[in-house]
């Protein structure tokens, strides 16, 4: 069974339709790349999955259970939305690290706040907090940042900041990790270190959705690719197939523009 099922998502901003009839599935352990030109709706789609935008139509199911259905108000309660968001992790284009916290605090803050809701929090407070700290440190180590744990975001390079942001998202153990153009705000020489981390996550079978402009990366790392244009899915399929042999004319045009650059 697919871990994520998106059915007929539609989204309007005022009179502009930004997403139209978006449907796709994602299997556990697979990486999905969403490609397309700017303004094609890729980011909005990702924001809908994280409930940063509310779709006007359609439904989202995780592991077979409907977590959002535009037709069913019972699935849209603000109080439950917060918990449902935790199915998804999100890595932003502009990192959005909290500037007043160190790298480690950025990674552990939300986990510590969530731990307070645990029934046994009061009795085992010190143990729980120590575990969270250890896990945060281990995550930073996985990102190659163990020596940067006590640095503040402004003391880190863009690539390091983005890796902290990835660790922060992983700390909550999301079912699906979403990346919104994770390297677009980075200098070319810093792009590699972030892509390397994402690649290693793919090797460890992390379920991921990656909105990206890095075609070669999408082709190598993703299992599936969705090409979007004008708010609709033009083509979807196995990554190598879509990128090497696109069936649709629009996909071909888009990819050939990349080949030229």
């Amino acid at each position: 069974m697919a871990i994520l099922e998106v059915r007929n998502i539609e989204k309007h901003f005022g009179a502009t339709r930004v997403l139209e009839d978006i449907s796709f599935e994602l299997e556990r352990g697979q990486a999905l790349a969403i490609i397309g030109s700017s303004g094609s709706g890729k980011t909005t789609l990702l924001r809908c999955l994280n409930f940063l935008e509310t779709p006007d139509q359609g439904s989202i199911s995780v592991e077979g259970s409907v977590i959002f259905d535009a037709a069913d108000p019972a699935t849209q309660k603000e109080s439950e939305l917060r918990k449902k968001r935790l199915h998804f992790g999100m890595v932003f284009q502009s990192f959005n690290l909290f500037p007043q916290y160190t790298a480690l605090e950025n990674v552990t803050l939300a986990v510590k706040l969530l731990a307070k809701e645990r029934q046994d929090y009061k009795q085992n407070k010190n143990r729980i907090l120590a575990e969270i700290e250890d896990e945060g440190k281990a995550l930073l180590e996985r990102m190659g940042l163990s020596d940067r744990a006590d640095h503040y975001p402004h003391q880190l390079s863009g690539g390091q900041q983005q890796r902290v942001a990835i660790a922060r998202a992983l700390a909550l153990h999301p079912d699906i990790l979403c990346f919104d153009e994770p390297t677009s705000a980075l200098d070319p020489e810093l792009t590699g270190e972030v892509l390397k981390v994402i690649r290693s996550l793919a090797d460890q079978k992390t379920t991921m959705i990656i909105v990206t402009h890095e075609m070669a990366f999408a082709r190598d790392v993703a299992d599936q690719v969705i090409f979007m244009d004008g708010g609709v899915i033009v083509e979807q399929g196995p990554a190598k197939e879509v990128i090497d042999n696109p069936k649709q004319e629009r996909t071909r045009q888009f990819l050939s523009r990349y080949a030229e650059n």
């Binding site: 968001r85 999100m90 502009s94 959005n96 007043q100 916290y101 706040l113 998202a169 909550l172």
Partner: protein, 238 residues
Amino acid sequence: MFWQVTLSILKGCGEAAELFFLTLLFSLPLGLVISFGSMSKWTPFRKLYGRQNRFLHGLARIRPISTITNTVVWIIRGTPLMLQLIIVFYGPGMWFDANPWNLFADGRMFACVLTFVVNYACYFSVIFRGGIEGVPVGQREAGQVLGMTKTQIFFKVTLLQMIKQVVPPMSNEIITLVKDTSLARIIAITEIIKAGESFMKSDGITWPLFYTAVFYLAFVGALTLLFGWIERKMDYFR
């Protein structure tokens, strides 16, 4: 004579300091509440949106809380503090034949603090709003996707970044407050200026009036050091 004048002005300083600290104590939190009010997006009539009747359709867009708070802020910021003091302290007696300020041990000071608190809270609210809106949307969104509640996002993410942003404009406003305490004399509170000026009538000397500047300068100097220290304290992040 010098010591007599200094002592008298110091007493005025006591009144001014009482007014200053009480005003800050209450107007800072009240200003935050007002800033939330002015940012309120609550539209109780939104169900009327799209009605044929243009009046009902227009009603749907109304945000009563932010409209009311913005009107109050406009009135308070749009009229002189001195006039507000006169209205609050003398108004009830003049128009309603009742002086509620007699009910308090120090009615003049009470009325004065009340007026100052409301006045300064309105100014602070605008600074706070700027500070809150100055925190990038991405910060709140990052908190949301990490499963934090609205309250957690405000206190753990937004608040400190907002404070950092508002310290410079707040220091301006607070320094103005020091000097605005001199307005209290209009309802016969013996603050610093009145204390200094009184020697003109009683002893025919003018230097005590100008001597009061030293006290304001000392007070503001201490505050300047304090704000500099706070700004340095928050230099660790950007």
